[in-house]
Amino acid sequence: MLAKLRIKNTALAAAVGIFAILFIAGSVMYPNFLSLRVLLNLLINNAYMIVLAGGVCFTILTGGIDLSIGAVVAMTSMIAASLLRSGMNAYLVIAICLLTGVVFGTVQGLLIQYFGLHPWIVTLAGMFFARGACYLISVEAIPIKNQAFYNISQFKLYLGPGRFISLNVIVALVFLALCLYLAKFTKFGRTTYALGGNRQSALLMGLPVARTKILVYTFSGFSATLSGLMFTLYTLSGYGLNANGAEMDAIAACVIGGVSLYGGIGSLFGPFIGVLVAGVIRTMVDFQGTLSSWWTKIFVGTLMLFCIVLQAVIVEREKARKADAQQKKRKKKEPAPAELAEAKS
């Protein structure tokens, strides 16, 4: 299936290129950078972000946004940790958490669709709500000592001696495949693109606009809790300050990966690449050792600006090219009133 995915999106191609350049640069600058372990760690450390970005990508494709996802990650970690502390079965906790996300997202979607509210406002409120709910549960971090949960977190798939990926990575990759499939091969996915392309047209073409608009927030909420669970497995604790600003990282990943914030344009492969690009920068900062972690933010910020400008330039060029082509085409042809007059007689 992946082979079928032609990279039509120039911005995405650029992101892939940037990733490659950064990785090569890292390999040249730092010994030991070029290794399977670095690559696998990249996936392990960013697995939850891959899921988060993939989920929010659908809302962005409709021309919307979901700002609540970072807070939902924290809320999920708190719910999971507190329920586990009370002795609940680990699998039941996971199911409850995922359900919370589905409900949370759906409610946001319903508000956006049926009250005509701007997604920005609704999900901002959702963000405050989820963040607040964390502290309602506990103002302090809750460590997780549940054995079953611990066992899940320790699952490793060995690819070679000392080289492994965690369960989170497997989940993230399966999730990525799911996103790609949803976007390309289901009516839901195509309607998502149509909505982002031209909402009015989507309505007039008889597409299920309302349903799709709600469902993207349902999906985003679901992915946020899934991501939250992965984050909890990763840190083995719940804390209200977890994943602070993660929604912005996720949105940035989408933009770097060539997903247009205006909606309708971008591949689900984009957020994945975007996350990896940001991850590589972080790894490089780590390798340097002397740089503060804020450098990551500065790099990612610069990069995002670069990506947006690149998109704008490409779009402008494309427009100009088309206009030229049409002008040329028109000049070639004979003026048509003759044809009209002919038809008239």
Partner: protein, 508 residues
Amino acid sequence: MRETPTVKKGDVVLSMRHIAKYFPGVKALDDVQLDLRAGEVHALMGENGAGKSTLIKVMTGVYERTSGTVTLHGQDINPKTPQEAQDLGISTVYQEVNLCPNLSVAENVYIGRQPMRFGQIDWHRMNADAVKLLESLDIHVDVTKTLDSYSVSVQQMIAIARAVDMSAGVLILDEPTSSLDSNEVAQLFAIIRHLRDQNMAILFVTHFMDQVYAISDRITVLRNGRYIGEYLAKDLPELDLVTKMIGQKFVDANTQAHRPSKDYSTVRFVRMEDISKRGLVHDFSMAVRAGEVLGLAGLLGSGRTEVAELLFGVTHFDDGVIYVGNDEVKRMNPRKALADQLGYCSEDRKVSGIVGDLSIRENIMLSLQAKKGLRRIPLKKQQEVAQKYIDLLDIKTPSMEKKIGDLSGGNQQKVLLARWLATDPKLLILDEPTRGIDINTKREIENLIVKLSRQGMAIIFISSEYEEMVRTCDRIIVLRDRHAVGELTDNQISQDNIMKVIAGGVAQ
């Protein structure tokens, strides 16, 4: 195309009888008939506000009719949503391309009803189907490319392909040509003829006279929501059609009654030379002199307003030159126009004119303030200016601090005029300044136009009411299909001649 009852050419496929549609206080349609026949292109004609769009909206389920019957293939139907009408097989292509630019051509044709295989979209079959459908309509495009890689005309054809594929023999084309150039129109017509020959019943709405006669077999005329008649296109000369649409017998003798004396200077204040804007105006030239009232006449959509907007820099022209005085202007914008002492009183005062929540004084001051820049004009001065124009134009209001939104239409129009007069323009463009206002105010405004021009102001006057153009203008340029098709001067200025030129004739 989906299964339809077999029809012969000329059979009535869709019939609307005694259709009425009332909105609160307005009879938008009153006892209107329309019969669409298989294998015919039927043009629906009428001026703006005649009820064409309302009729189409009734047919396509956007509006519910107040009374009357609609039958499709002999069955009574009453679609309540566009979707329902679509499901019944009434397909519509709108003026704006209603497709998604970011999706592929094939997807645009089939989205919402994609071929599925094993529960997933069968892209392979969808693309193949799209190629087959488009080839059958003689449209040759790469169906896997995104829609926005093609020109508007091709997009419009793809919209038609989608509509045809979902249709049960009825196709409604609601001004599909309004953003196309003549080549593209010809291509579109080839497709329409092709569909007609396949016994589709096609309803075609347009503002362009040429196009009506080029493509349609039958014409139904509406006027003021009333049914005027159904005619065979070949039996209805253009002049008669215009007469029926406008509903005036134009033998008005007093054409010269209020015309100003022509003592305008020979200095051409503004010139437009070969101004073109793709899809809006084609090779338009004119010059207007100080002290002259120049009229732009033509049916709605003929390019009148577009010329005004190009001149004032609301839209930017692709080709040509504008001269203001002796200065060549390559790119006009409203700020520059204002600085060059141009004023533009726009067509729809509600949308682009008045600021309803501001007071009369504030509305009058807007343009002057914009011209003066950021430094606030002192209140005292503002009051002086406002009072001057309230008196001059006889604006009826208890106070200049009243909200403009509370005034009557005529008085709002006067405030708009005052706004521009306050900037002391050398050229004032008035686009439909008298629309929707009472007859007395109309006369007042006409008189004011004449008076201003005598004081040396150049005025461009646009109106749908030829009678008032004849009364006020020194010269009239007639537009049709985005071209200037004639110019009337002196004794030529009469309603009769305006209509003749619009209908494609020559003035006498």
